[in-house]
Amino acid sequence: MVNFGNLSQVFAFIFSLASMALILTGLMKNDARFLESGRRTLYGLALFTTLASFALGYLFVTDNFQVEYVASYSDRALPMFYKVTAFWAGQKGSLLFWAWVLSIVTAIVVRNTRTELKSRNTPYIYLVLATTLSFFLFLLTSVSNPFDLLDFIPRDGQGLNPMLQNPGMIFHPPTLFFGYIGFTVPFAYAISAMVVGRLDETWLRKTRRWNILSWVFLTIGIIIGGQWAYVELGWGGYWAWDPVENASFIPWLIATAFIHTAIIQERRNIMKVWNMVLIVLTFVFCLFGTYLVRSGVLQSVHDFGATGLGGYFLVFITVVLFGGIYLIAESYNDLRSKHTLESYLSRESTFLFNNVLFLAIAFSTLFGTIFPLISEAVTGNKLTVSQPFFNQVNTPLFLILLLLTGICPLIGWRKASADNLKKNFLFPALTALAGAVVLFIAGIRQFYPLAAFSLSIFVAVTIFNEFRGGTIARSRMTGESPLTAFPRLIYRMRRRYGGYIVHLGLVIIVVGITGSSAFKLETQGTLSKGESIKIGAYELRYDDFRGYRDRNRDIYAATLSVFKDGKPAGTITPERRYYVNAEKPTTEVSLRSTLVEDLYVIMPEISPDKEITLKVTVNPLLAWIWIGGTLMVLGGIMAILPNRKKKGAL
């Protein structure tokens, strides 16, 4: 199976080169046969990457430790479930996964455009996709081959890092990869539009679903990553502005900006240059995200499989970035819009402001992330900026962005009148003000939490008003009863209302982040059996201790009774785990999660006489982050649900 995998990978690389050569020949000779052959070669490529991926999966499942990659990330004791996910635990497997998914995505694009081969854009779209695939397959076949063999057959593998033995491993890396990879499609369409000079919004319309789907996957990946960090890393938080976290967040921010301005171009035929810049940047930062995880240039909690692929990535990123800039410069005169903003008091202009903010946050995050590299280049010392830098710079920007999220729906497209704006603004603003007064009286006096909660109220009310106002408007226009008009409105205008659901999810996340960061409680203590530790309204009593073996790990668990306001509230059992083949033990978080707050307990130490050291955290409103994240994803999915009726009234 090693040879089978190896050959499949080599054939995939050959097919990617063949596809590029055939398409280029077809374009140069104006010969449809070569283009058709180049198109079919891309299907073949998808087949060979699929075979290579199944071969690697088979080698993991059958414990073939002569394969260096399998020996590095698996062992005999590893549960089957994690043997499969070990596929993408290291650099080599991740690259194969990238190539596999991208080849499938490419095959889908080829299938969807099978009737459009005579369109001038289509061959260039294939060419960009084939070139990107060639890059990854080149790395796989020459620099980072997952089928490389050891000179000997080890009796067992080194096992999977215990931190990766978490259900998050099934979803977090693949969803992030799907997100990164998905943006290759709009990038390919954009490049092809610039090459052939068809710069109208056709490329945006055709890639709208890819944009949002990729954004949805990126969102899922980031949210699951936060959840995984929360339950696995044991420091009580979910986001540490770690370089690799940032590397996924930056393309997410730019992609979010792009999705907003793409709407404007589709509706108003303006901001064409801006959209080209944004899609090139989104793709560049998707590559940068992959590069950062795999290069090892920055210290990160994600340094599971970093090796020296950085140089290759850097060259490819540079080519993409400068190639993109060159094409935009070349097409600049044609991209400049004939139309302009009709009024600064319009939804278009709020979208423009939100773009500026998204990019400001993205670039401040980028600056903080690569600051160690900049400082090393300038001073010779690697200086890092930590959480306070990111929080201080980004929090005010996020709050302004939140305000715009509320203002945006109040303003109509093209031109809003000041009178109508005042009318629409009054109720949400007064409600937010009243909320701020109540919160102030209730004891919330810090500026940022007070501002964040008040703005959240403001945005939530505007969204509610949008649903209410839209239903009334539809009722008035169609004569339907509100009960009929409401679901029909949401179904018919699901792009708009899906967007509002995403915004509502964002509001809920802001509430969760504010509550859990501004009002967090922490304590630490060492307990003997029968002793208690107090935190806020909670008291935890150490009742029992036991050790046992479970699959590939020895587990030591303490049982603690929880009392809230003196009343029993169940038990929790923090654990310490000793994994087979792991150098250090790990702490397993015990969590009691409610909508109001999370009680988060870890056990960093156990003494020989079974005294335990506990670190206890109370995170108010933290569960709201996961709820808000889910809502954002659902809103995104709703926005791309296919049309059954193409020409609806509303």
Binding site: F15, L51, N269, I411, G412, A416, G470
Partner: protein, 102 residues
């Protein structure tokens, strides 16, 4: 066995992929006077103006624009739709299907 299976798969895939090269030469893009592209662009413009009209109706019904702006914008976009439709009528009466058989 492994080699055999791979050889069969690879052969079939290569035949499938390179088969078109065995056929007679076909021109991919005939020279075009750009009429088709212009018509497509006008169609898109028309769709965009119609969408704008629909938006304006909804924005007015949702109290986001006042009646003066509503009237002005509605008239403006109606005029635009009429202009584009006139150009489309002229464009399509000149014929011009793209002659390519790729």
């Amino acid at each position: 066995m492994e080699w055999m299976v791979f050889a069969v798969i690879a052969s079939v895939t290569m035949i499938y992929a390179f088969m078109p090269l065995m056929r007679e030469r076909r021109v991919w893009q005939e020279a075009s006077d750009g009429r088709d592209e212009r018509l497509k662009s006008l169609e898109l413009e028309k769709a965009s103006f119609l969408k704008a009209l629909k938006d304006i109706e909804f924005e007015f019904a949702s109290n986001k624009i006042n009646s003066d702006d509503y009237e002005k914008l509605r008239n403006y976009y109606r005029l635009k739709v009429a202009e584009v439709m006139k150009q489309l009528g002229e464009g399509s009466s000149g014929g011009g299907r793209e002659k390519s058989d790729g």
